[in-house]
């Protein structure tokens, strides 16, 4: 049954539409600007601003960025780190979440508390760094994957999910002679594909977008993920080595480094932004499961 709107209500609703339109524009305009600018000749961009004339457009930025070895290697590294991290963290968290959801696990409140404390208190950056160094993980892939692999939030999410799996299902399997392992692998896990998918997506995106662990643990630039390469291009204004030869005039150098900024942003963010609408409902689901606690 529809709500009856008074004239005052309808006035408010039209203001609402205006505000939401503004909100969408505020979000979209900067993104569109970057995308359009990435196709433009930087001299034109600098002097005239955005233009939609084909003659002012150029693909030079993309050519430069796609032929840049540091960028390509960073891309490859990021794909690998993100996939590996997603697999490890989801496996660890889902297993722990399942164990903690089972009434028979003696001490589960104690374990849960142990995990939750780490959400709010930690030893800090320096002791963690010293530990990673002592374990010989500096400058190895492990440093970006293992220390952050336990995600308490993911444990809570999966535990919530498993608590919702009907008990009768497990009991029936038990009566049929299935072992605990059999129940977990053959009955519970296949049921949990959605939650596993959600957690893996989150983990992948999180790792893809992060740079901090890589910055402190990986000195070797061959191991650097995309975000560190981007940092040097976007923020430290260093067009990666090999991209611009020394003889080029200062102006040309500046022109090129401005130009590749836009294409670098587009190339690095595009995979997620294109993927995201298809996965939107899964991402949202993740937020919602978490709120049930």
């Amino acid at each position: 049954m529809a709500v009856k709107h008074s004239r005052f209500d309808r006035f408010l609703l039209s203001i609402n539409v205006i505000f939401l339109t503004l909100a969408v524009l505020i979000v979209v305009v900067p993104l569109v600007y970057i995308v359009v600018a990435s196709f433009m000749d930087p001299t034109v961009l600098l002097n005239k601003g955005l233009s939609f004339r084909i003659s002012d457009w150029s693909l030079e930025g993309y050519q430069k960025i796609l032929s840049n070895p540091a960028m390509l290697r960073g891309f490859g590294n990021s794909v690998f780190y993100s996939a590996a991290f997603a697999i490890v963290t989801v496996m660890v968290s889902v297993c722990a979440g399942y164990a903690l959801s089972d009434q028979r696990l003696a001490g589960r409140h104690f374990f849960m508390t142990l995990f939750i404390i780490t959400m709010f208190f930690g030893g800090g950056l320096i002791p963690t760094y010293l530990l990673v160094r002592q374990l010989g993980m500096l400058n190895t892939v492990w440093a970006v994957i293992i220390p952050g692999a336990v995600n308490v939030w993911n444990i809570i999410l999966s535990r919530t999910f498993f608590k919702g799996v009907p008990k009768e299902l497990k009991e029936a399997a038990n009566v049929d002679g299935a072992s605990d392992a059999g129940i977990f692998f053959r009955i519970v896990l296949p049921l949990s594909k959605p939650i596993i998918f959600v957690l893996a997506l989150y983990a992948f995106v999180g790792q893809w977008n992060s740079f901090f662990d890589a910055m402190i643990y990986l000195e070797d630039s061959k191991l650097h993920p995309l975000q560190l390469v981007l940092r040097s291009i976007l923020i430290q204004n260093q067009a990666a080595p090999g991209m611009i030869s020394d003889q080029l005039a200062m102006n040309e150098l500046k022109r090129l480094s401005e130009m590749i900024k836009y294409s670098a942003i587009v190339i690095s963010s595009l995979p997620l932004l294109v993927m995201y609408p298809f996965f939107q409902k899964y991402f949202e689901k993740g937020v919602m499961v978490g709120s049930l606690k």
């Binding site: 049954m1 709107h5 408010l12 609402n16 939401l20 909100a23 979000v27 900067p30 970057i34 496996m91 660890v92 297993c95 722990a96 399942y98 164990a99 089972d102 028979r104 696990l105 003696a106 142990l114 995990f115 780490t118 709010f120 208190f121 930690g122 030893g123 800090g124 950056l125 320096i126 002791p127 963690t128 010293l130 530990l131 293992i146 336990v150 072992s179 605990d180 893809w208 977008n209 992060s210 740079f211 901090f212 402190i216 981007l230 940092r231 976007l234 923020i235 900024k261 836009y262 942003i265 690095s268 963010s269 997620l272 932004l273 995201y276 609408p277 939107q280 949202e284 937020v287 919602m288």
Partner: protein, 320 residues
């Protein structure tokens, strides 16, 4: 009769088994659960609890040769040094201001967005608006800050407008006074949409009959929002607020660090960036660990305090 005696005896035998024996029985039956728990537990003990123990380095004079265990105790020396250093006031206040203002300005926006989205009656329109509003959440902090440098540069698009009006560009990224605004507003730009999901979902669960009945009783839109929508999301607001306030001192290192230029340091140097620079760039491990520990402890105290206050308010008069 004989049978019952036998059963009783057997039960007695079972009961008499030692605690160790019973534990073994229990483990034999349930070991698989512990195997599943083990990886997360071990990794947490190593990478979360060992560093907590390692934080005692903050009370020592760390020497790499002697290691954390063997180094000499110096008590609160490093903490005193930090509290007495000329930097302390600036860094501490920068951290506090950035997170406090961040919390105050960022907290209401997702709620407003959710209330507004909730008024869109066409599901397809609502979905599309959400699609756009959520998108910035998936952009990395490096790219966000990179975009800030592009848009706010002296020759960037914003300054083209500014200098068109005032005749000269504003030095957004180098003037300290702008730092906090840029940080907070870009945070809202990126996160507000995504943070509204949880409220949107709660609002979608409100029975439409309630709104209908209220409108028949003559309640206008604002009254319905105040008396139906807001009470629905109030518990979520409380939780989100507690969590955000608890993290007030642990605001993101990443964005502040990336946004730092040598010129805006008077506003952009916060405890987290200071710890990183003193510790990992200059190698003064013990001192920077002390600074970090100081930060963590304040954080926990804040979390507990806010939790206590919000609980009190929520049972009594409510949050607003």
């Amino acid at each position: 009769m004989e049978n019952t005696v036998k059963v009783d005896q057997r039960a007695a035998v079972l009961k008499r088994r030692s605690p160790v024996g019973r534990m073994l029985d229990f483990l034999k039956k349930n070991y698989f659960l512990y195997i599943l728990l083990a990886p997360a537990l071990i990794l947490t003990l190593i990478f979360k609890y060992v560093p907590m123990y390692g934080a005692i380095i903050a009370f020592k004079d760390f020497s790499p040769i002697k290691g954390i265990m063997g180094s000499d105790w110096v008590g609160l020396k490093h903490f005193e040094k930090f509290l007495n250093s000329p930097n302390f006031d600036v860094i501490f206040m920068n951290t506090l201001k950035l997170s406090f203002f961040g919390l105050i300005f960022s907290f209401p926006v997702p709620i407003l967005l959710a209330l507004m989205l909730n008024q869109i009656r066409k599901t397809s329109v609502k979905k599309n608006v959400q699609l756009f509003l959520y998108a910035p959440n998936f952009i990395s902090v490096v790219v966000i800050v990179g975009m800030l440098f592009i848009f706010l540069s002296p020759t960037g698009p914003i300054n083209q407008i500014v200098s068109g009006i005032t005749g000269k560009p504003l030095m957004f990224m180098s003037e300290p006074e702008y730092f906090r605004w840029i940080y907070i507003l870009s945070d809202i730009w990126q996160a507000a949409g995504w943070s509204s999901i949880i409220y949107v979902a709660a609002l979608a669960g409100v029975d439409p009959e309630l709104h209908h009945a209220a409108s028949l009783d003559g309640a206008n839109l604002l009254q319905r929002i105040r008396n139906i929508d807001l009470p629905t999301i109030r518990p979520i607001m409380a939780i989100v607020f507690i969590l955000a306030a608890g993290g007030i001192m642990s605001i993101g290192f990443e964005k502040a660090y990336l946004m730092q230029t040598s010129m805006n340091l008077p506003a952009s140097e916060i405890i987290a960036t200071y710890v990183y620079k003193v510790g990992l760039q200059s190698g003064d491990y013990a001192y920077s660990a002390a600074v970090g520990l100081f930060n963590s402890v304040i954080n926990v105290v804040l979390l507990l305090t806010v939790n206590f206050i919000v609980k009190k308010l929520n049972e009594g008069e409510g949050l607003y």
